[in-house]
Subunit: 344 residues, 2 copies
C-alpha cells in the first residue's frame, strides 16, 4: 500500500485561527475526494473539535494532535526558540521528524516559522541559504518566483541554488510543464547588471539542459507576467520589492476601475451587463489562489500561508502542500542538486 | 523684462522623429498660450520646416537650429563621444552653454544622452553621481521616483543626494505641495534592510525639516502608489525593477480586463454603457502623462522622453520641461544641497 500524503497543519496560526484554518480544511475535503492523504491538525484539541463540529467535518482523513500553546504574532525569533516547544507551530514542523508528516503548513509568524523550521529540519547539504518561493500569475499560467525576502543580499552560488530548487518546485507543482529559468535584471543584454548577476548568468547557461531546466537568460520587470519564463530568480530584496510593487499596482488599478464604474448611472447599468465577465476576471486574478510561500533548502518542505488570508486562501495553501508532495518535491530537489554537484 | 524659458529640443531623436516631435510641439503651442517661452528645435532645417508647415505651425516662439546629423539608436556611448559633435542631440545639450537654453529634451538613445550630458554640463559640486528620476501615479496625484537605472549600486551618500535632488524636483513641478521622502525597503521597521539603507535612514531622519523635506522613513512596494510619500528613493537596480514590474502588472491586468469585457454579447453591451467612464479611467492612467525621465545631478537639467512615445507623450515631456524651469529646479537643488553641506 502506498504511503498516504501527510500534511501537518498549524491550526492555531494566523488571523482568525483556528476558524479559517478549519474552514479551509473543510473546503479541501469537499474538493478532494481521494483517500491518499491525511490532514494532521496541531493545536488545542477542544477548540479544534468545536470548529470541526461547526463545519460538519466527520472524516477519517483528519487527526488532531493536541498542543497547549500558540506562537504570538509579536514574538521575535530569538525568544520563540526558547519558548515555543509546546506550540502548535513547533510541533507541526517537528511532525516531519516524529509523526511521519511530509510537509508543514502554517499561517503564523513568518520570522519565527523560518527560524524554527531551519532549527528542526536543518539545511540540505550543499545549500547554504534557505529561500522563500512564491507563485505569480502570468499570461500562460503560473510562475515560481524566488527569493521573496529570506536573503536580502545574495552571492552567485545562492542564485544558482535558487534556480535548481525553484525549477524542482515548478516541476513538482506543474508536472506537465518544463521549467524555464530567467534571472531578473534591468536589461536583457549579457553585459548588463552587477558582477554577481553576470557570474550567475554564465553558470546558469552552462547548467541549462532539457533534464534540469532551460535557461532563458535575463528578464526585465515588465516581462515577468508574459510567462515565457516560469521560474524567476532574484535576490530577496529585489524579489520582495517586485512582488509588493505588483500587488500595490494591481490594487491601485482595481480601486480606480471600481470608482470609474460606479460614478454615474450609465456605468452602473454597465455593471449589470458585465457582472459575470467581471466576476470571472476577478476570480482568475484572485490573490488567494497564489497564497502560500514555500521555504526551500531545508530537509523538508514548509509552506507559509498569508496570515491575513481567509478560509478559501487557506484552502489553496493546503492544496499547494498536497500538490508539492504528490509531485515529489524533495526528490526533485535532490536530483537537481546532484546534477549541480556533478557540474561543479 | 523677465527672461523667457528656453527649451532646447532634439527634433531628430526617437522613433518617428521628427514627425512626432513636431506634432508634440504643435500640441504644446495650442495648450500653452503664454509668451514666456521659446522652443529651440535642433535638427535638419529642411525636414523640420516641412513638418512645421504640415502641422500649420507659425509662431515666434519656435526657432530652428540646423544640424547635419543625428545619433543612431544603436550607437554606443563610446563611439558617440567622438562622432556626435554635429548631431541634433549634442547641440541641443550644448545649447545650455552656448545658446541660453535652460533645459534640454531628447527622445533619442538614452545611454548616449546620459554620457553627452555629463560631458558637456558636468556634475554639480558635491554630487558624485547623476540620477534618473521619473514620475509615478498615486492615489493622491503624482510622485517622483529615483534612481530608475543610472546607478545599479549605491552608497548611502548617493541615496541622500537623491533625496535632496528628488525633493527639489518635486517642489519645482508641484510648487503647492510639500515633498515627503521615503526610502524603498522590504519592511517598515527601522531594523530592516541592508547596512547602506540603515545608514541612509538615520541621516535622512536628521535632515528632515519643513524647509527641506519631511522624511517618512521606509516604504514597501505595496504602498508606493498610496501617495503618502511622494519622493521615493532607491538604488537604480531596485528602482528600475519596480518601475518595469508596475508597468508589466498594469499591462497584464488591462489586457485581461479587455478580454473579459469582450468575451460575450452581454459584456459587449456593458461596454456601451461604461464607454465614457472607462475612457476617463484610461485617460487618468495614461502612461504618456508620466513620459519623461529627468537627469539630476548635472549643472543643467536634461529630460529624456521615451523613444517609443507618440506626439501626445512628447507634448507631456515638453510640458514637464516648462514646469521644471518655471519652478526653478536648479535653484531648488542648490538650496537643498547647501542645506546638506551645512549639516555635513
Amino acid at each position: 500500500m502506498k504511503k498516504k500524503i501527510i500534511i501537518a497543519i498549524d491550526a492555531m496560526g494566523g488571523e482568525n485561527a483556528p476558524n479559517k484554518n478549519i474552514e479551509g480544511v473543510s473546503i479541501f475535503l469537499k474538493k478532494n475526494l481521494k483517500d491518499d492523504f491525511e490532514l494532521h491538525l496541531y493545536g488545542d484539541e477542544n477548540i479544534i473539535n468545536k470548529e470541526l463540529v461547526k463545519h460538519n467535518i466527520v472524516s477519517n482523513s483528519v487527526k488532531i494532535f493536541h498542543t497547549n500553546e500558540a506562537v504570538a504574532d509579536d514574538e521575535t525569533p530569538l525568544t520563540a526558540i526558547k519558548n515555543s516547544k509546546n506550540t502548535s507551530m513547533w510541533n507541526s514542523v517537528n511532525a516531519q521528524l516524529t509523526n511521519n508528516a511530509d510537509i508543514t503548513l502554517s499561517a503564523g509568524n513568518t520570522g519565527v516559522l523560518l527560524v524554527i523550521s531551519r532549527m528542526i529540519l536543518k539545511m540540505i547539504n550543499d545549500v547554504s541559504r534557505p529561500a522563500l518561493a512564491g507563485l505569480w500569475p502570468s499570461q500562460k499560467g503560473m510562475s515560481v518566483v524566488l527569493d521573496l525576502g529570506a536573503n536580502i543580499e545574495c552571492e552567485e552560488k545562492n542564485l544558482i541554488d535558487f534556480a535548481e530548487m525553484g525549477s524542482a518546485l515548478f516541476k513538482s507543482i506543474f508536472p506537465d510543464q518544463k521549467p524555464h529559468v530567467a534571472l531578473l535584471n534591468i536589461g536583457s543584454e549579457e553585459i548588463k547588471g552587477t558582477e554577481i548577476l553576470k557570474k550567475a548568468h554564465s553558470k546558469l547557461k552552462e547548467l541549462s539542459n532539457e533534464n534540469n531546466f532551460i535557461f532563458n537568460g535575463y528578464i526585465e520587470g515588465n516581462k515577468l507576467m508574459e510567462g515565457n519564463s516560469n521560474v524567476i530568480i532574484t535576490d530577496g530584496f529585489t524579489g520582495n520589492v517586485a512582488l509588493k510593487t505588483a500587488e500595490g499596482t494591481a490594487k491601485f488599478l482595481i480601486d480606480n476601475l471600481k470608482k470609474s464604474l460606479s460614478e454615474n448611472i450609465l456605468s452602473k447599468i454597465s455593471l449589470l451587463f458585465s457582472y459575470f465577465s467581471l466576476k470571472k476576471f476577478k476570480l482568475k486574478l484572485d490573490a488567494r489562489k497564489y497564497n502560500g510561500a514555500i521555504f526551500l533548502g531545508l530537509n523538508g518542505p514548509v509552506v507559509k500561508s498569508h496570515g491575513g488570508t481567509d478560509a478559501l486562501g487557506f484552502y489553496y495553501s493546503i492544496d499547494l502542500c498536497y500538490k508539492i508532495i504528490k509531485g515529489n518535491l524533495m526528490t526533485q530537489i535532490k536530483n537537481n542538486l546532484k546534477h549541480l554537484n556533478v557540474k561543479n
